[in-house]
């Protein structure tokens, strides 16, 4: 079918006006006159398709759409030519109408070494990066992730963990207390800021039947004066596995696997006797130094770095939650996320994590 007269008229008028347009602003005006949604000539043409006799509708529609594409291409090319023309200052003109990459079909060269447009994406905090990595590893090992309150009561933070009032082991964790108790949704009011997320062991076992396989990540607080390696607030992940036939050898195998996934596949892992009131036997776990092969200042020339505390759940803890320590055994561990982040990313000062300096934050993986 031959071209409809209306289509030809619009094209002719457009080409005449485009030829006159010499600036990006003028090109934009031409664009509005023809493609504008309200009063554009091509827009009107497209709208008229619906009113055309049914037998002509299809062809008219096709022609009108073809014209629209033709006009769009011409506009782009014209604006490209205007932008590429030397300006008085001899530089590329900033401003929206000068965007060189507007549409397909352009062919004029541009300076591709000009910086591209940044897409702004924020960063996760490095401690979150590590925390999510740990969560992913243990999720893969079949652990459930549980969370709890930061304001705890004495029972869950200490007493149920085999640290009765005035137990000397409480000195190991200098505690921040609240001036007056804080109400909690369930259970006794909170009186202190939790010194570890171990209280979640108790909270979980109080409300769940064995077997238990959880990790409990979260913020913890100690009354420690801040320095390079101490922060009065830091993040910890507590792990707990309780069931029948759970052994210390299982603890060793699981933690070795975890640490090799977190650091390097050839990381060596060492267990050493230690003391925690809520585990027995207790073990401190070390990894081969990530900084050196045969001794450096960080590992105090030993080649080993202390990385976490762990042990077999003390029978008194199982008894406190009504589990039968004859039938059930279990193990637990606690690892400081900040410590891991310091070692993984070679950050020298733990306090840097809480300054939230964007120059640091923006270095970490998205």
């Amino acid at each position: 079918m031959p071209e409809a007269p209306a289509v030809g008229e619009v094209r002719a008028a457009f080409l005449a006006e485009l030829g006159q347009a010499a600036s990006p602003e003028q090109i934009q005006e031409v664009r509005n006159r023809y493609l504008g949604r309200k009063r554009g000539a091509v827009t009107a043409l497209l709208k008229s398709v619906a009113q055309a006799p049914p037998e002509a509708r299809r062809d008219l529609g096709q022609q009108a759409n073809a014209l629209k594409r033709e006009i769009e291409r011409a506009l782009v090319e014209r604006s490209g030519a205007v932008a590429a023309a030397p300006t008085p200052a001899g530089r590329q003109q900033p401003g929206r109408s000068a965007r060189p990459g507007d549409a397909a079909g352009r062919s004029e060269p541009v300076d591709v070494t000009l910086p591209g447009r940044d897409v702004r994406i924020g960063n996760r905090h490095p401690l979150t990066v590590v925390r999510e990595e740990i969560e992913a590893i243990f999720t893969g090992l079949g652990f459930e992730i549980v969370e709890g309150p930061e304001v705890e009561d004495d029972y869950h933070n200490f007493e149920a963990l085999n640290m009765p009032p005035e137990h000397p082991a409480r000195d190991m964790q200098d505690t921040l207390y609240l001036e007056s108790p804080l109400r909690t949704p369930a259970g006794p009011p909170g009186t202190l800021l939790r010194t570890h997320t171990s209280g979640m062991q108790i909270r979980y076992m109080e409300t769940h039947e064995p077997p238990v396989r959880i990790i409990a990540p979260g913020l913890v607080y100690r009354r420690d004066t801040p320095d390079l390696t101490h922060s009065p607030m830091f993040q910890q992940v507590e792990g707990l596995l309780v069931g029948e036939n759970v052994t210390m050898a299982d603890l060793k195998g699981t933690l070795e696997s975890f640490l090799r996934q977190l650091f390097e596949p050839d990381t060596r892992v060492m267990f050493r006797p230690s003391f925690f009131p809520y585990t027995e036997p207790s073990a401190e776990v070390f990894i081969s130094c990530v900084f050196c092969r045969d001794g450096c200042a960080v590992c105090k020339r030993t080649g080993w770095l202390e990385i976490l505390g762990s042990g077999m759940v003390h029978p008194a803890v199982l008894e406190a939650v009504g589990y039968d320590p004859e039938r059930l055994t279990g193990w637990a561990f606690g690892v400081g996320i900040d410590r891991i982040a310091i070692l993984k990313y070679r950050v020298e000062d733990i306090r840097a994590f809480y300054d939230n300096d964007l120059r640091l934050l923006e270095q970490f993986p998205l």
Binding site: R37, F271, T329, D355, N356, D357, L361
Partner: protein, 708 residues
Amino acid sequence: MRILVSWLRELVPVEASVEELADALTRHGFEVSAIDPAPSVPDRPAAPADAVLDLEITTNRPDCLSMVGIAREVATIYARPLTGPTLAAAVPGEQPLPVTIEDDARGLCPRYAAAVADVTVAASPGWMAARLEAAGVRPINNIVDVTNYAMLELGHPLHAFDLDRLEGGELRVRLARPAETVRTLDGVERALPAGTLVIADAGHAQAVAGVMGGADSEVTGSTKRVALESAWFDPLSVRRTSKRLALSTDASYRFERGADIEAPVRALLRVQALLRDIGAGTPRGAVVDRYPIPRTAAAVTLRHARIRQVLGVDVEAGFVAATLERLGFDADPLPAGDGGSAWRVTVPAHRVDVGREIDLIEEVARHHGYDRLPATFPAAVQPPAPPSGALARRRLLRRVLTASGCSEAITYGFIEEAAAAPFVDGSDDLVRIANPLAETSAVLRPSLIPGLVDALVYNRRREHHDIRLFEIGHRFTAARGETPGFAVALTGASSPEHWSNSTRWGGQAPPIDVFDVTGIVGRVCDALGVAAVFEAPAAPAPGPLVAGRTAVVRAAAPDTATALTLGYAGQLAPGIAAARGLPAGDEAVYVAELDLDLIARAATDRRRMAAAPLPRYPSIVRDLAVAVDAALPAATVRGTIRSAAPEALRQVRQFDRYAGKGVPQGRVSLAFRLTFRAPDRTLTDTEVEQAMRVILARLTAEHDAQLR
């Protein structure tokens, strides 16, 4: 505990080098934190490779706060005999020192032993002074030094009184009297809290029991006779007293962890032997020993099979028994029962940490060696639970916020009261820390915004111009308790700098405004399945925000008839950022904070959505510009459009707001793009025109709108 290796070798004959010893002790739970050079010890054969091992002793092992305790471990590790220090033979005869334990003090002092000696006070011999110094104890005079030397050897604290300065020449163990004071050896006059256990003479307190002696009966150069005390005090009582007086000593450190109740007489006999050896004194009369209820040794059953059940490794029965015997336990085999072999293990008094089977299994594990435990995997016995809704929501939230260009901050949970105050209704609502490290960390944060503002200011002062931060964390108020929330704080340009940007903002995008922060919050809510609406708050604005530039964020929830107020978004009151150090003349700061518990109530779980079919028929788009009263909220106009329109109206997008030339004073032109589409057919222009007429009529009727 500082261990002089040559002294250790006197108690247990081991040939291992200093480094080997340090390594062995570390592997058995006694971490060697440093190996220091040994002092030269006069009058003792020079050890070719001597050193001082600085050991970390865990709180459960007070028995190892002594040379003998460590020697016992070494003897067990190397399977060598242990030689105890030489004791004096007990002197028979009269007990020259009257000792009374008053009735109300008996519970706190189950054993009190004492002895009298005639002494010649002088400096200690060089070897003794050198060994004390190696252990970190300052030599004072031969009498005091002997008591300290015996304490280091045996782990049992001792004290020497100048007997001639004790009123009545007697010792009384009693509770402090009201308002009683004592001047301790460090020269401090101390008020004794009620219930404090003291050692007194006939008149007044002469020592704080188990903590420190008194200056009034201190051994001096003119002392001729001493009363030597070797007692066992209740650990809790000593700990309380030490804490109340803020006074921790070598003695209190040992007593509060648990001393050996069988040791007191042995320790006195050792002191007598040492006094004799260095020519410092001779015993007068027999040892006094008030020990009315002797200890009954605990017996614990240890099952061989249980060791395997806990450790996951077979430890040979002979090794188990031999290890326990060397450590001072008696391990008697029990007749083999159903569960296999077992022992009846009697616990020695120095092992205050051992009371149940697991404590013995720990001993077996330590000496078997943790490095010899196999590495196995626990059997998976049930499928893991899926992640909680809260965790999934937080991960999604973090994804959307980072995708919005915001970086995650983690700020302290405790802040300065002045920074917290604008975020609560009254100071009663703040949660205060009883023992804060500093005034700057005295209250728990009632809001995440103060921490974010500090982080924002920190970065702004380090030449960061465009800052977008968020934090997900807990807030604390007396009224609501601990609640999870998230907050954002923004300042600077609204989008990244680019050379092609308009020159109007100096190459940068225009500054952030309210609509950047409401935009982010809207996107977040949408992602979390919350249909949030932004409303101008009923006056006044939330405390820390600028009135008229702040929206409250509300959403309906299935469990309540009234919409929930999730939080707010808007411009931070400039005074707040300025007070935290934002440079004067900086761009405004925009913030938002929403409650995640409330979001959980209002959210639909979008993971359980069904995909909507794609439209099969074309849509028709119409633009509509109307002039309305400038004070009329745009959301109201959009709401009227929706309610007046047929179902075919799929979308209302506001693309312009204009006041000025062509629009009457006090009015504003709002432009909307309306998209109509029917799911089952192609709409006709006539239908849409009809809908537009109805919409306009309604806008005119309800808002006096005029078509433009």
